[in-house]
C-alpha cells in the first residue's frame, strides 16, 4: 500500500515538473521518499500524498473515478485532522468566456464540496470560491495545459507546513 502511494506521488511530481515553465508558486512540492519523513497531518503531506486537486473534462463538473479516489483521500485526511479548514477553489481553462467560466468554476468547486460533505466532512469547515479562467496554473495554449487548469483545488488552512 505504501509502495503504491509512492508510485502515485512520483508520477505527480514528474507531471508537475514537466509543465512548470516559470511557475514559482507551485502548491505541490516534489516528494522525495528518501527525504526525512513528513508528518501525515502536514500541509505538504496533504498536497502531495493525499492530492490537493481534482481535474475535470471540458465544460464538465462531473467527478470521475480518479477524482473520486482523490476526494475520498481528502475526506479521510480532513476527518483525521479536525482542526483544519479548507477552501475549495474552482477553476476553468481559457477556452470559454469569463462569466460562464466563473459559473463553471463554481460548479466544479461545489462538486468537490458536495463529495467531501457526503464523506462526513463538516460543511462548516469548508468554503468554495470560483476563479473562473482567471488563475491558470499552466500557461500554454493547448490541451496539455487546459487539462491541468480545469480543476478544483482544496486549499487547507491550519495545518503545519511539513
Amino acid at each position: 500500500m505504501t509502495f503504491l502511494k509512492f508510485g502515485f506521488v512520483a508520477l505527480t511530481a514528474l507531471t508537475l515538473a514537466a509543465c512548470s515553465d516559470s511557475d514559482e508558486d507551485m502548491t505541490a512540492q516534489p516528494y522525495d521518499p528518501n527525504a526525512s519523513t513528513i508528518s501525515e497531518s502536514s500541509l505538504q503531506y496533504f498536497n502531495t500524498v493525499v492530492g490537493d486537486r481534482v481535474l475535470f473534462a471540458t465544460d464538465s463538473s462531473s467527478i470521475d473515478s480518479y477524482a473520486s479516489e482523490t476526494l475520498t483521500r481528502q475526506a479521510e485526511w480532513l476527518n483525521a485532522n479536525p482542526g483544519v479548514s479548507a477552501t475549495i477553489e474552482g477553476h476553468a481553462d481559457e477556452r470559454g468566456t469569463r462569466e460562464y467560466n466563473l459559473a463553471l468554476g463554481a460548479r466544479r468547486a461545489n462538486a468537490a464540496y458536495n463529495f467531501l460533505v457526503s464523506r462526513g466532512v463538516s460543511a462548516s469547515r469548508l468554503r468554495t470560491v470560483s476563479y473562473g479562467k482567471e488563475r491558470p496554473e499552466a500557461t500554454c495554449s493547448n490541451e496539455s495545459c487546459w487539462s491541468q487548469n480545469r480543476r478544483a483545488v482544496t486549499v487547507v488552512a491550519g495545518a503545519p507546513m511539513s
Binding site: D21, R95, T97, L102, A106, T128, E134, T139
Partner: protein, 446 residues
C-alpha cells in the same frame, strides 16, 4: 470633476444655414450630396480637408493643432473619412469669418471642409467651427461654438468630430464618450487586474482601483457616471458600485453567494446580475432603491450574462440549459425564455444594441472565438471578427461600433482592446499601450 460646457449656435455670419440640406438644383447633378450612407456598400472614405484651427490669441496656439488632430483622428479612425494631406492645400482660411475659396478645395477633390478657430480666456477654451460642402459651396448646418475648461480640451475636439460625423452620416454621435475596462499586468498565471477608464480614443487613462483585488466585467450606468463591476475584495466574487469621479464604492447587497455579471437597467434604477449558490447560477434583478433580490430564472443550468433591451422590457441572457451555451430572451420580470441562437457552436455575452435593432455576442466554434451580431429574434446572424480568443463586445453609444477584447495564445499571451464597425469593416486595435480586457462603453457625455 468640472465639466462645464457651453454649446451655442453661431447665429450670425452664416448665411443660408440649414440642417444638412440636400444639395439641390444643377449643382446636385455635378456632385453627389455630402452624405455618407453607412452600409455594407461603402468602401471609399470621403476625402475632407481640415486646415489647422486658427489660433486667435497667444494662449490658443498650444491647443489649436492638438484640437485639430484629435478631431481628425476621430473622423479618420472610422475609415469613413480620409484627411487630405495639408501639403496639398492650395489656400488656407485667412480668418474664421471668411467664406472659403471653394474652387481651391474642389481642385484637390476635397468634398468636405472643416474650419475652426480657437481662443482662450482664463481657464476656458473657446472653439468655433464650421462644416462646408465644398462642391455645393455651402455650409452644412450652423456654425457651432463650444466652451470648455482647459483640462477637458480634448472633449471640445470630440464634440466637433461628433458634429461633423453626425451631419454627414446622419448617425448619432459617439466620439465624446469614455470606456471603462480592466487593465491587466503581470504574468499569465498571476495577472493583476485593475479597473481603469479612458476616453474612447485611448487618451486620459486613469486607474479606478489599485490592483490589490482582482476586478472583472465593469459596466456603465446609462444615466450617470457610475460603474458596476465584480471584485474579489471580500475574498469571493461580489458585485460593487463605484462613482468614477469620486471613486466611492460600495457592495451592491449582502446576500450569501457569488454575485457576478452585473449590468444596469436602461433607466439606471436597477441592476440585473447572476447569483451562484450551491454551484447553481441564476439571474436576479436588484432595484437600487430596495436592494432586494428578485429571482428571474430558476433552472439547474448556468444562466448568466444578462442584458436589457433599450426599452427595458426584455432581457437577453446566455444559458446552457439546452446543453451548450445559447442565447435566450425573456421578459424583464422573468418567466418563460425563448431561445434565439440556433447556429453551431456556443453563444455567450449577449449585449443589446442601444438602437434596439441588434444583439452582439461572443461565439465559440471549432476552436475559434468570434464577435457577431444577430437580430433580437435570432435572424440575420453575422460574424464580424475571428481569432484564437475574441470576447466581450460592448456597443458605442450610437450602436454603430463594437469594442471587444482579443487575447493572444501561449504563456506570453495578453489581451488587447479592439473595435469593429457593426458592418464588419474597420477592425482595428484601440490605441492603448497596455494589456486590457472587458471594455464597457459609456453613454455619450453630457
Amino acid at each position: 470633476m468640472a465639466r462645464n460646457f457651453v454649446v451655442a449656435w453661431l447665429l450670425a455670419a452664416v448665411t443660408g444655414a440649414g440642417v444638412l440640406a440636400p444639395v439641390s438644383g444643377a449643382m446636385a447633378q455635378d456632385a453627389p450630396p455630402l452624405v455618407i450612407e453607412i452600409d455594407e456598400g461603402v468602401i471609399e472614405p470621403m476625402p475632407f480637408a481640415a486646415p489647422v484651427f486658427i489660433a486667435e490669441d497667444a494662449g490658443a496656439a498650444e491647443f489649436a493643432a492638438q484640437l485639430t488632430d484629435v478631431m481628425t483622428n476621430d473622423l479618420t479612425g472610422t475609415a469613413l473619412f480620409r484627411l487630405i494631406d495639408r501639403n496639398a492645400y492650395i489656400s488656407s482660411p485667412s480668418s474664421f469669418e471668411a467664406t472659403p475659396q471653394f474652387a481651391d478645395w474642389r481642385a484637390i477633390n476635397s468634398q468636405a471642409l472643416v474650419t475652426g478657430a480657437v481662443s482662450t480666456s482664463g481657464n476656458q477654451i473657446t472653439l468655433r467651427f464650421r462644416l462646408w460642402d465644398v462642391y455645393a459651396g455651402q455650409p452644412v448646418g450652423q456654425g457651432l461654438q463650444l466652451v470648455g475648461d482647459r483640462d477637458n480640451w480634448r472633449r471640445l475636439a470630440h464634440k466637433v468630430a461628433d458634429q461633423v460625423y453626425t451631419r454627414i452620416t446622419g448617425e448619432d454621435p459617439y466620439f465624446d464618450s469614455r470606456v471603462v475596462f480592466v487593465a491587466e499586468s503581470g504574468p499569465k498565471n498571476a495577472r493583476v487586474k485593475r479597473l481603469a477608464i479612458m476616453d474612447q480614443d485611448g487618451a486620459n487613462l486613469r486607474y479606478l482601483t489599485d490592483g490589490s483585488s482582482m476586478v472583472l466585467t465593469p459596466r456603465f450606468n446609462p444615466t450617470s457616471q457610475e460603474v458596476i463591476y465584480m471584485s474579489y475584495q471580500t475574498g469571493e466574487p461580489r458585485v460593487f458600485l463605484m462613482n468614477v469621479d469620486t471613486l466611492q464604492r460600495e457592495e451592491l447587497e449582502r446576500q450569501p453567494g457569488m454575485t457576478f455579471a452585473p449590468r444596469f437597467s436602461p433607466d439606471g434604477s436597477s441592476v440585473v446580475m447572476s447569483l451562484s449558490r450551491g454551484g447553481n447560477t441564476d439571474i436576479y434583478s436588484v432595484p437600487l432603491g430596495s436592494r432586494q433580490l428578485i429571482q428571474l430564472t430558476n433552472s439547474p443550468a448556468i444562466d448568466t450574462a444578462p442584458s436589457y433591451s433599450p426599452d427595458g422590457s426584455q432581457i437577453v441572457f446566455e444559458s446552457d440549459r439546452g446543453g451548450k451555451q445559447q442565447l435566450y430572451v425573456m421578459s424583464a420580470g422573468g418567466g418563460g425564455a425563448r431561445r434565439i441562437s440556433f447556429g453551431d457552436g456556443a453563444y455567450a455575452t449577449p449585449v443589446w444594441s442601444p438602437r434596439g435593432d441588434m444583439i452582439a455576442f461572443t461565439k465559440q466554434q471549432g476552436g475559434r472565438f468570434y464577435i457577431g451580431v444577430m437580430r433580437p429574434d435570432g435572424s440575420d446572424e453575422k460574424l464580424l471578427t475571428a481569432s484564437f480568443l475574441d470576447e466581450g463586445p460592448t456597443w458605442s453609444p450610437n450602436g454603430r461600433v463594437l469594442m471587444f477584447f482579443r487575447e493572444s495564445p501561449g504563456p506570453n499571451g495578453a489581451p488587447a482592446l479592439r473595435s469593429v464597425d457593426v458592418t464588419g469593416r474597420n477592425e482595428r486595435r484601440v490605441p492603448l499601450n497596455m494589456p486590457a480586457s472587458d471594455p464597457a462603453w459609456s453613454p455619450l457625455l453630457q
